[in-house]
Structures are given as structure tokens and as C-alpha cells.
């Protein structure tokens, strides 16, 4: 089963000069699931300020790709490089610069939104004060829900609470977001799109998957289609 991988540059793409080293580089990545290859010989680079939009139908391996890049799963070939060196060899340095948001919200039902976010920040090695979290929640459009237990929130509110991590202080250049727009209403989608665009302007890098078209004004977007 041959797997074709196409990288289609959108009209926003600015061809990067060869001298700037790519922040993130994926070389010859291969992934086998259930005995069948999802993709193989997948290579791409992502420069500063670039967003890679991973597309493909269900089961094409989008989530698998993101998990491989994070290091949650082991590739069946190839490697992920960060700042010119294998990510695996600099695990803690790489993870210190990574913010991953998966399908699951990673929120504890019995804790309040505030407690969840402050503990998550401490786990990531930054310290978020009460005011920091309140500001982030306001940006995510759930400023009033800080004291509520996650158990009492709706799906969309939970997603917003999980996404509020993106507004917390601390610089993490690499964002890997799996379906960040799912379960969000139009207003939240706009807020998130603006947040991602701002991240790109600040020289960050992002990989994301989504099924819906979301305009990201001014961001350099490249598309990676998995078949």
C-alpha cells in the first residue's frame, strides 16, 4: 500500500531562505498501526512563525502523527528533530518548549477550573498566579467559571477551559493541537484563531488538525495532506 504525502503550500507561504534552520524537522517518519502502514517516509520542516495544518480523512493518521511528533508514541522509522537535534536526545528541553492539547481535555472532574489550570502550569514548570489564570480564562471567554468544578461544565466549556492553557504565561514555542476547534461555538473559534495567529506572529510554531476551515489572518499556513 503506497502512501502518498503531499505538501501543498497555501498562498500565504513565504519560501524560507535555506539559511534559517527549521525549528521542527520530521525525517522519514513511518507509522504502522494494527499491522498496516498509516504513512511512511514522511518528511517535512516547520520554520519559525509557520503553522502546519495536517489534513486527511478519518483514520488517515493525523492524531498518530501528532503523537509521534510529541514523543507519546514511538515511530516505526525516522525521527523528529527540534532545533537541529533529535527531540528524543533532548527530551526535557524539547518538552519544556512543547504545549500539547489532545482529544482529551486533561481536566480533573472534581477540581475547579482554577485548580486544574494552576496545577497544570506548575507541572509544566511555570508558575501561574491566580490573576494569570483569571486573565487566561477571560481570554478563553469563560472568565466567570474559574471557581466551578469541571464536573459541572458543558462539553464546550470544558474545551474552553482546556484551551485556556494557551493563554497562560510562559513561552512555549511549539504548539501541537489535535482538533482544537471541536465542540467550540463560533465565538470561541474566533478567539482561538486569534490566539493561534498571535502565537505565529510571535515566532512560534504550530501543528494542528481540524476538519473545519478556520481563517487564520496573517499566519503563514502550510498544509500537509495525509491520504
Amino acid at each position: 500500500m503506497a502512501v502518498a504525502v503531499a505538501i501543498i503550500a497555501s498562498k500565504f507561504i513565504v519560501p524560507a531562505p535555506l539559511s534559517t534552520a527549521a525549528l521542527l524537522e520530521v525525517r522519514d517518519l513511518a507509522c504502522v498501526r494494527g499491522g498496516k502502514p498509516l504513512f511512511r517516509a514522511l518528511s517535512f520542516t516547520v520554520q519559525e512563525g509557520e503553522l502546519l495544518w495536517v489534513e486527511g480523512r478519518n483514520g488517515a493518521g493525523k492524531t498518530s502523527l501528532l503523537r509521534l511528533v510529541c514523543g507519546l508514541a514511538e515511530p516505526d522509522g525516522g525521527e523528529v528533530r527540534w532545533r537541529g537535534a533529535p527531540a528524543r536526545a533532548q527530551r526535557e528541553g524539547f518538552l519544556g518548549e512543547l504545549l500539547y492539547l489532545g482529544h482529551l481535555n486533561a481536566l480533573k472532574d472534581d477540581l475547579s477550573v482554577m485548580e486544574n489550570l494552576r496545577l497544570a502550569a506548575r507541572l509544566a514548570g511555570t508558575d501561574a498566579s491566580r490573576a494569570d489564570v483569571e486573565a487566561a480564562l477571560a481570554e478563553a471567554g469563560i472568565g466567570a467559571l474559574g471557581a466551578r468544578a469541571v464536573r459541572t461544565l458543558s462539553q464546550g466549556q470544558r474545551r474552553r477551559a482546556a484551551l485556556a492553557r494557551l493563554w497562560l504565561p510562559g513561552t512555549r514555542p511549539l504548539w501541537i493541537l489535535d482538533e482544537p476547534f471541536s465542540a467550540l461555538d463560533a465565538e470561541a473559534v474566533q478567539r482561538l484563531a486569534a490566539c493561534i495567529a498571535a502565537h505565529m506572529h510571535g515566532g512560534g510554531v504550530a501543528l494542528l488538525t481540524t476538519h473545519q476551515e478556520v481563517p487564520l489572518p496573517g499566519a503563514r499556513v502550510r498544509r500537509l495532506a495525509l491520504h
Binding site: 494494527g34 499491522g35 498496516k36 514511538e74 522509522g77
Partner: protein, 251 residues
């Protein structure tokens, strides 16, 4: 890169190799057990204390040796598979587990049969029997864990971690059980106390041990073959291998 190629090709090259080795080991197993059983039943003298009953050691002791040794080998293969990410090693570990469990079971069963006439009960909480029982639990845990994880790669890795934890634990368990019950017979065969046993007995036991070895290798290789077929069923070479046979086999 070389390691990757080795990984992908090795089950394919190993499969026919195993196929050629299996008959050889079966023949050796048959020869050694014939020689061992002959020595055990006809050559070795009757024990002056236990009479003919003691002859069960020609099965019991080799099985007990193998049960412990196979666990070590299995954990070794599993560790190699975990560290070097070689699939064939993990398959070897998986293939060895049932044979190891079988040996443990035989050792327990024959131990119990031996215990009835010598100690007067089917079961005594003697240190070696108890350790052997715990070893059986460890084998069963390993096989149950592997069987309950669907993804073979995850099953291999989880099994390897368990086997390695088990290997660290086996001496501790053995020591603790021995500590718990110091009222046990001395080991039947030890290099320092070899004179306590007639040399014919020792020969018979060693021949039987070799027979068990050959059997274990043959059985493990056969099991590895079927594991390879099962796991590589999507690979082209397995389809090529099975299809002509399927045509021939369906008149």
C-alpha cells in the same frame, strides 16, 4: 537504518530457518529422552531409602530446572526486545512462556506425586514447592497480561517490563520463602554434594535435562512460527507462503 532493515526482515528469514531446525530438535529430544528414560528405569540403582519411587526425579528435577531457566531466558529475550526494539526477540519471549508454565506445572505435579509416598501428603509447604507455585503464578500473569492487550507491540513491551520486574523478584521470593520455611530438603543435585547420588542417577537426570531442553527449543520454535504467521499476516511474504498451500489443501 541497518537495524530497521534487520527488524523488518528477520521474522521473514527466521521463519524458514525455524522450519528446518524444528525436526532436528524433535529428533534430539526423542533420542535423549529414550536414553534418559532407559538409564533412569533400568540402569540407575534402586534408592536404599525411597525404593523405586525416587525415579520420578528423572522427570521432576529436569522440569524444575527448566521452569526456572526458561523464565530467565524468557525475560532475557523480552528485555532484548524492549531495549533494541527487535520484534523477533519479543516473539521468542512470548513463545517460551507456555513451555515454561508447562514445565512449572510438571514440576509441581510430579513433586506432589513424589511427596505422597515420601512425606505422606500430596502437598507440603516446602520452600522449593512453594517457590515453584509462585513461579507458576508469575508465568500465568505474564501470559494473561500479553493476552489481554490487543496491540501486539504494546503487549510485548508490557510483558517485557513485567518479566524484568519478575526476574528481580524471583530471587527475593525464593529467599523469602526459604526464610519462611527453613524445614526443607537440601537440593537434590548440587556440585558440592554430588557424591550423595549414584553416578548413574546423575547421568540419567542430565540426559533427561537435555531431552527437556530439546523439547523446549522445538516447542518454542514451533510456537514462534505460528506467532510470526499471525502477526505478519498482512505482509506479502506470508500471503505468498500460505496461498499455494491453501490451493493444494482444498480439493
Amino acid at each position: 537504518m541497518a537495524i530497521r532493515i534487520f527488524q523488518f526482515s528477520s521474522p521473514q528469514t527466521f521463519y524458514p530457518l525455524a522450519g528446518r531446525l524444528i525436526p532436528l530438535f524433535w529428533v534430539l529430544a526423542a533420542l535423549f529422552s529414550a536414553a534418559g528414560l532407559y538409564t533412569g528405569f533400568f540402569v540407575a540403582p534402586t534408592d536404599f531409602q525411597q525404593g523405586e519411587v525416587y525415579r520420578i526425579i528423572f522427570i521432576h528435577v529436569p522440569a524444575a530446572w527448566m521452569s526456572m531457566f526458561i523464565y530467565l531466558v524468557m525475560a532475557g529475550w523480552a528485555a532484548v526486545g524492549l531495549v533494541l526494539n527487535t520484534r523477533l526477540s519479543s516473539m521468542m519471549a512470548q513463545a517460551l512462556a507456555p513451555t515454561g508454565a508447562l514445565m512449572t506445572f510438571i514440576a509441581l505435579w510430579t513433586g506432589s506425586l513424589w511427596g505422597r509416598p515420601t512425606w505422606g501428603t500430596w502437598w507440603v509447604w516446602d520452600a522449593r514447592l512453594t517457590s515453584e507455585l509462585i513461579l507458576l503464578f508469575l508465568y500465568l500473569g505474564f501470559m494473561a497480561l500479553q493476552a489481554s492487550i490487543d496491540d501486539p507491540r504494546r503487549a510485548d513491551k508490557a510483558g517485557a517490563i513485567l518479566a524484568m520486574v519478575g526476574v528481580v523478584n524471583v530471587p527475593i521470593i525464593y529467599f523469602s520463602v526459604k526464610w519462611w520455611n527453613t524445614l526443607h530438603q537440601g537440593a537434590s543435585v548440587s556440585l558440592t554434594r554430588a557424591p550423595s547420588m549414584a553416578s548413574d542417577m546423575l547421568t540419567g537426570m542430565l540426559l533427561m535435562a537435555l531431552a527437556f531442553w530439546m523439547y523446549a527449543i522445538a516447542a518454542a520454535l514451533m510456537r514462534v512460527q505460528s506467532i510470526i504467521l499471525e502477526r505478519e499476516r498482512h505482509a506479502g511474504w506470508v500471503k505468498d507462503l500460505l496461498e499455494p498451500a491453501a490451493v493444494k489443501g482444498s480439493p
